[in-house]
Amino acid sequence: MSQKFRLESGGLINRDKPVTFSFNGHELKGYDGDTLASALIANGVHLVGRSFKYHRPRGIMSAGPEEANALLQLGEGAYTEPNARATMEELFDGLVATTSNAFPTVKYDIGEVNSLFSKIFVSGFYYKTFMWPSKAWKFYEHFIRKAAGIGKAPEEHDPDFYDKTNAFCDVLVVGGGPAGLSAALSAAATGAHVTLVDDQPRFGGSLMAQSGQEIDGKPALEWVDEAEAKLHDLDNVQVLRRATAFAYYDHNYVGIWERLTDHLPVKPEGLPRHRVHMMRAKQVIIASGAIERPLVFCDNDRPGIMLASACRTYVNRFGAKPGNKGVIFTNNDSAYATVLDLIDAGIEIKAVVDVRKDPLGPLMEKADAAGVKILTNSAVVGTSGRLHLKSVEVAELSDDGETAKSDVTEIACDFLGSSGGWNPTVHLHCQAGGKLDFDEERGAFVPAPSNRTNPNISVGSCKGAFGLADCLAQGFEAGQEAAKAAGIKFRKSGKAPTAEAVDEGNRRLLWLVPGKKPLGQSGKHFIDLQNDSTAADLQLALREGYRSIEHVKRYTTTGMATDQGKTANVNALAIVAQTLNEAIPTVGTTTYRPPYVPVTFGAIAGRDIDDLLDPARTTPMHSWHVNAGAEFEDVGQWKRAWYFPQPGEDMHAAVNREVAAMRNSVGILDATTLGKIDVKGKDAAEFLNRVYTNAWTKLGIGKCRYGLMLGEDGMVMDDGVTSRIAEDHFLMTTTTGNAAPVLGHLEDYLQTEWTDLEVYLTSVTEQWATASIAGPNARALLSELTDDIDLSNEALPFMAWTPGTVAGIPARVFRISFTGDLSYEIAVPADYGLALWQALMTAGSKYDITPYGTETMHVLRAEKGFIIVGQDTDGSITPVDLNMNWIVSKKKGDFIGKRSLDREDMSDPNRKQLVGILTDDPKEVLPEGAQLVEVVKDKPPMDMVGWVSSSYWSPNCDRSIAMALVHGGLKKMGQKLYSPQADGRVIECTITDTVFYDKEGNRQNG
């Protein structure tokens, strides 16, 4: 079998370049210039897949992006791609395609058994059937997903790469058909920067599917080639083929998806597979054309049933015959163009079934004169042929068109082309927030003028102008108008291209073609082939009370998935309108959403994958931690050393060792990631007074102070130590994850509320590297590395800092502590961070200096009851709730959060308050997040009085320790609480204060 359905001549294919491809394991031939669909049709293959729900045999139904049936699996292994539309895939040597939704084969598919039960597979079937018992959903789901899956996602890492680019232009023209080309030419002639995009490999749009058209007295495709050459030569024009404008976002931001290598048998190195151009256009001209609307008749889904215009495209553009003897079913004159071209190609047209009573139109007249059998006021009322169309049944219509007469004629045929008129492709216009008007005569929604946010002009058939002459004229005018609106000074740009105006004839809008029996009793009237939704499903939804078209759409899944209103929606809402006896515009349309066609995830991600998606921040000492075998945790974008396991140690063992080592001798922590903000200016102290709860004006130079920062709502927002560097200069630290929000918060007040304050903020987080050494031997260690700093308790007491030299490096040494032990934080310019760390490790070896990570830091601080903002607070916790009243100044006037702390609700003694929790069994470590109750019941729900915020095993206390936020907890010291666990156990515990270790604080002050 070799291209039995290929015409001897004609078509825009290169017959000198045969191409071999495979479909379902069969090797087939096609030509360069074919699509996968046209090559299959040339080989007589119509049956390509099984439908989604009923597994009915399905064939290629279109020749464009609206394809709902021929969704095939392309390629193999890591390169495989599901749900590719065969109509949009260019054929190349070695292409491998398989049917997706059939087992074991597309001819004998087990799933077809679903068809026998179609009465129960009505809309909402899954919702209705699998609701009960609710726990069984997990069981059902596995089988339902398997049965409904259309394609297979690749299981390996995508070996291709993709690009994304930001782009700008004066005028973006979407669509390279006659209207778009005319628009691009006229806009380009003004000198405007123009980008023209088209989703096909060559320009011409609908002209490629037509015959006998002339523009400016030349054959239309010749005019197209000249236009393209002219645009190509202009420096101010960018031309993108195989590029789909898939999304139109606010302020004329248009996503364009360009496919660079999909059509090539050998993919060139260094070229991305796809590239997304995010285009900010001053003006957009939409020339996206129109999609033919299928007629909705009984059993309208058999392989061989196609759009009339698709039949014409296959013959004229690809030289491929949809069949040998066909029937055309129409409600308008445009389908007769298909009839005439098919007859010219030697294909037998058994009959044209025309629903019109008195059809008018020049094409119909030509066909009539050519002797074509035209059955007026008639309809196709049924079809037969299991794997391929064998015949259609035709009957005369009643006067109102709602029923068919019983006298049925059977016509044998192997294909049927149907035309219910045309739907302008208004997707981009609507995505841009544009409204639609309803053209009663044509039964079509057409774009209203665009809104001001997204200035665009629709031209040609997407504007409802279906004649070539109108397309060219509108395009020309819009090109000039858009260039002018984009601020380009008007220049003479020639004349509009011309073509002969043609009469469109008349129409009869028959939304639901009657069958032999009432709807739903025999056969199916499919509306959305991809989702297997039918006219009966729509009516059922209406009977069940759905009214909003948006709800009907979702309930019946009509026009969902890749269809996005291409073939299904207007038919669906017209049938809804008819059933409800309402006008079509009253029912309204559903929302058109991006993307217009499916876009690969790779293209959307571009290079923003792996490390480039979420860049990691590392400290200057990072490489040391890596070499030491540290495990890391993410804190914001920072990679922080989490713990340093030695061989054979798990986290628990490593942390126990690190915690003990610090308390016994000396530990070292990389504290570089803490946020650091340089606060400078004559009003710096006053500024700190206003943003922290405590007083700052009297803090001496060389001294440090801990501060709590609140929001206006009085809730704890951040904390940290701030040091006074000079009279007008402070260094503030923030929590690691909060550095940027805190800087923003402070800037906000300086810029917009306290503009009279002279204060300057600079983020210096990355300028300093900080090593924190803590433990009884910290002072001895540091003294070995400095000779210009007096480390005595008198010279450098707790909460003081000094400049000096450490290991030969200029440094700031802060005696501050987050461990509750004697501790020094040594900050050096970032480039010296690693040198400082290495010097401390070398000198510290005699003290068995132990590097520790954030997990140990958490245990150490919890032993002392120091909070972590964001762990022990959750945005609803005040300083009072934390039992930190001592830090809230009573003397200061205003500070951020003060007024809120005075609100009546804030003094409610039953607020959640931070308390310590000791389990009765000291070996039991409560899970963080565990709920606490006062009264245990047999089963939930129980009255919860709080939850555990921090919980650890404390080696130094030799027992578990925890903190919790408990309602009225501060007044409940010593009271018993219970923590019921998911496994049914109940952990008994007691409320205590939050300091578990060294309650007097001798260690840090000594």
């Binding site: 976002y249 606010d250 302020h251 927030g433 946010t453 007024r899 609100r903 009546e904």
Partner: protein
């Protein structure tokens, strides 16, 4: 994605900005110490949710880091004006538009 004209830097993509709610909500000079609980709560928590032209603040966080004011139609996303913090909103002919919820 919106294109927002920063009065300091020029037109910049929305991704450079952080959105910051309603503009022209000045912090009381007293810090609210002379206000009732109800008045204070109103100032802290209550903001308009206009369906129509809205005056809002944006922070040019990945740019000049300054707060700017913006007059935006929340239905169409049309930006009628942007202006510096501290400035009064410019007078614009149809800026009063409000839509029915």
């Amino acid at each position: 994605m919106l294109l927002i004209e920063c009065p300091h830097c020029g037109p910049r993509a929305e991704t450079e900005y952080a959105g910051c709610s309603e503009a022209h909500i000045a912090r009381p000079e007293s810090g609210g110490l002379d206000m009732t609980d109800a008045e204070w709560v109103e100032w802290v928590f209550w903001r308009k949710n206009t369906k129509g032209v809205y005056l809002e603040r944006w922070n040019h966080a990945a740019g000049c880091r300054r707060w700017i004011n913006c007059m935006r139609d929340t239905v169409t996303n049309e930006i009628l004006a942007t202006y510096k913090a501290g400035e009064k909103p410019p007078k614009i002919a149809d800026a009063e538009r409000e839509y029915k919820f």
